[in-house]
């Protein structure tokens, strides 16, 4: 498709590997991107936090945003489902599309957008309700369910997909806040899955967790890939290398480099990326 080729040029992203090594994902890259951002700037009051970022997000693989803290990767992530709207001083310019629709256009409904682009936060934030009610919350408010059996079904399916069912099936009425940190985070993922989103944004989902819980979440992310477009912000390069197929490196509010994860880590094209990867800063 000629359109997708122009995008690639626009974004300044070379997806073909210069070394000629063939990667298994490369063949599916030609597909239409789920989300597409062009020249996105984000301002807080007058301060520019994100400078002209352009990127494509595909359902087929996990995209990781890496970079030192304060580089704007979380800010950009929150622009993708308009969570920045909750900050009165924040302003977004440029174009972000979901399936070709501009999400900042007046015709786009923010409620529907967020139902389609879910989000998991840095700190697990289960509602102070039962596990069951946490999952049922989204389907209920959106009116996706009618009977009690429908809800039961969605709760079980979502918890199974999040790999939490076996651990909590006997105590669905316990408070969500009573779970361990890792379980809480998987509960939050299950909660996001319950409304069948198209994309899930994850903002450093493991930063508050211990290594074992982290491993479980990473495993889960891998299982969810393909069904949902997944974007994960992480400050851990190892995590990006483990879970993602595409990586974008952010620095000082702009996207320095975007490409195959293996390329970014083994063969970065920009010196700043290389410095970060090799631990000169950050």
């Amino acid at each position: 498709m000629s359109d997708s080729e122009t995008q690639t040029v626009d974004a300044g992203v070379a997806l073909s590997n210069p070394s000629g090594k063939s990667l298994e994902h490369e063949t599916i890259d030609v597909g239409e991107p789920k989300m597409r951002a062009r020249d996105v700037d984000v301002f807080y009051s007058d301060k520019k936090a994100i400078d002209s970022v352009s990127i494509d997000i595909h359902t087929e693989f996990v995209t990781a945003f890496i970079g030192p803290s304060g580089c704007g990767k979380s800010t950009f992530l929150r622009a993708l489902n308009r969570m920045n709207d909750t900050i009165p001083s924040a302003r977004v310019t440029g174009c972000i599309e979901l399936d070709g629709e501009d999400i900042y256009a007046s015709g786009m409904d923010v409620v529907q957008l967020r139902a389609r682009v879910g989000m998991v936060f840095q700190k697990p934030n289960p509602f102070p309700k039962s596990i069951y009610e946490n999952i049922a919350y989204g389907p209920r408010i959106h009116g996706l369910v009618e009977s009690k059996t429908d809800i039961d079904e969605i709760v079980e399916k979502s918890l199974r997909r999040a790999g939490l069912w076996e651990e909590v099936k006997d105590r669905l009425e316990d408070s969500g806040t009573a779970l361990s940190g890792g379980q809480q985070q998987r509960l939050c993922i299950a909660r996001a899955i319950a409304v069948e989103p198209e994309v899930i944004l994850m903002d450093e989902p493991c930063s508050a967790l211990d290594p074992i819980a982290t491993a479980k979440i990473e495993e889960l992310i891998d299982e969810l890939r393909g069904r949902y477009g997944i974007v994960i912000v992480t400050h851990s390069m190892q995590q990006a290398a483990r879970v993602s197929q595409r990586t974008a490196f952010f620095h000082l509010g702009s996207m320095v480099e975007y490409g195959l994860t293996s390329d970014i880590f083994t063969n970065p094209r920009k010196k700043r990326t290389q410095d970060y990867i090799t631990g000169r800063y950050g």
């Binding site: 359902t59 409904d109 409620v111 529907q112 139902a115 389609r116 408010i141 959106h142 009116g143 996706l144 409304v195 069948e196 989103p197 198209e198 393909g226 069904r227």
Partner: protein, 419 residues
């Protein structure tokens, strides 16, 4: 993922979008409800203020009658070198000033004239003469307060027989409502034409001085102790629970305490500002302690560490560094507590500050009443003239409260520091 699967997404169906419309409608309803709720409160406030202002403006006026008095015929003299105004007025009374006024009124209005002028009008004339003795050699037209009956007839009720007369006098320009400066200078009276607010205001000021003198030092010292020195033990917990609870105990309970304790110790000082002030101080102290603790807590520990590190003793740290920084916050809390005490009535009702006090209190132990109590007492009067006077008293009270709250907000904004 195939296109077919895409269309299966439950969040992209027409049904979802139809539901969305309903959800937005409910969102709008909810928002309007919220705005409505708060506008209701604002509307009540505005209604209350306008209501009080409209009827209160009348309270600053009184009905007065123009009476020509010919002093040249009366032969009144002012004593030489009088000590004070009172002596002049007494001398004039002995020489027959009241009769001169009655006579003049009868001359102007016929036989019933003397009854239409207020009984105490001659006293006002005497006071005017005391400041300006040259009046005694002139023929002057004086505006004198009318009797209670004529005033209510002029207002359109009361004695039906007097109403035509009042109407006639008003048409001649001899009877009108005139601004009554004396309202701010006199004390309580049985005649609404003669009442004033100064007595109650002075009582309030004296009471507040006692309250402040007791509650402020005790409150600040207790806050300092609890926040800076108190060990964590059961006693400290007990003190904390006591203070938090006292801040929420109904004010009338403090009245019972004042009645059972203070009046038992000082039985002679019923309705004295001293006792009232002590009772209100117990009520205000917890407010100051709580505000003080918050202000002290807000002073960052780095300042204490810095002072301790150069060898200051814990007492010096607190009194030289922490207290000055916390003072604006403490003062804000104090003013708010004092404003609450100023508007408080119930406890004072129980300790007997509801006496009829016709002269402004001299000192902390003389009989006194306070502004809110004066409002309460006047609101109980049947005479219509008191309705407007009550509203006027409310305006005076509200002005003081607004000034105090304004000062507190100013202090908070001016000195509030973010560490």
């Amino acid at each position: 993922m195939s296109d077919q699967a895409e269309t299966m997404r439950p969040t992209r169906t027409p049904a979802f979008e139809a539901r969305l419309k309903k959800r937005y409608a409910s969102e709008r309803r909810f928002k309007v409800l919220g705005l409505g709720a708060i506008l209701f409160s604002v509307a009540v406030l505005v209604f209350l203020l306008i209501n009080m202002t409209v009827s209160g403006l009348g309270g600053f006026q009184r009905t007065e009658l123009a009476v020509p008095v010919d002093f040249t015929q009366a032969g009144l003299t002012v004593p030489a070198n009088p000590v004070d105004e009172r002596e002049v007025v007494q001398a004039l009374q002995r020489q027959g000033l009241p009769e001169v006024i009655s006579f003049s009124a009868e001359q102007a209005l016929g036989e019933e004239g003397a009854a239409h002028v207020n009984n105490e009008a001659w006293r006002l004339v005497g006071q005017q003469i005391a400041t300006d003795p040259s009046m005694l050699s002139q023929r002057v037209e004086l505006w004198l307060p009318t009797s209670e009956n004529l005033a209510s007839a002029y207002a359109g009720d009361g004695n039906a027989e007097l109403q035509p007369l009042a109407q006639q006098l008003a048409d001649q320009g001899l009877l009108e409502d005139r601004f009554d400066f004396g309202f701010l200078q006199r004390a309580d009276a049985t005649d609404p034409q003669l009442v004033g607010i100064w007595g109650a205001l002075k009582g309030s000021i004296l009471t507040m001085i006692v309250t402040l003198a007791l509650a402020f030092p005790i409150g600040v010292l207790a806050a300092l102790y609890l926040e800076e020195y108190a060990p964590k033990n059961r006693w400290t917990d007990l003190i904390e629970v006591s203070i938090n609870n006292l801040a929420a105990v109904p004010s009338i309970i403090f009245g019972l305490l004042g009645l059972a304790v203070f009046l038992a110790i000082f039985p002679g000082y019923r309705s004295a500002p001293l006792i009232g002030g002590m009772t209100l101080a117990l009520m205000t102290m917890p407010v100051i302690v709580i505000a003080g603790r918050n202000a002290i807590k807000a002073v960052p520990p780095s300042i204490r560490d810095g002072a301790l590190a150069i060898g200051a003793s814990p007492i010096q740290v607190v009194f030289h560094h922490v207290l000055p920084l916390a003072l604006p916050g403490i003062l804000t809390g104090t003013i708010i507590g004092m404003a609450r005490a100023l508007g408080e009535t119930a406890p004072l009702l129980l300790i007997g500050m509801r006496a009829f006090v016709a002269t402004p209190p001299e000192d902390f132990t003389s009989n006194a009443t306070v502004l809110p109590m004066q409002i309460f007492l006047w609101s109980d009067e049947i005479d219509r003239g008191f309705v407007e006077r009550t509203s006027a008293a409310i305006i005076v009270l509200l002005v003081f409260l607004l000034l105090m709250n304004g000062l507190a907000i100013y202090l908070r904004n001016r000195f509030e520091k973010r560490w």
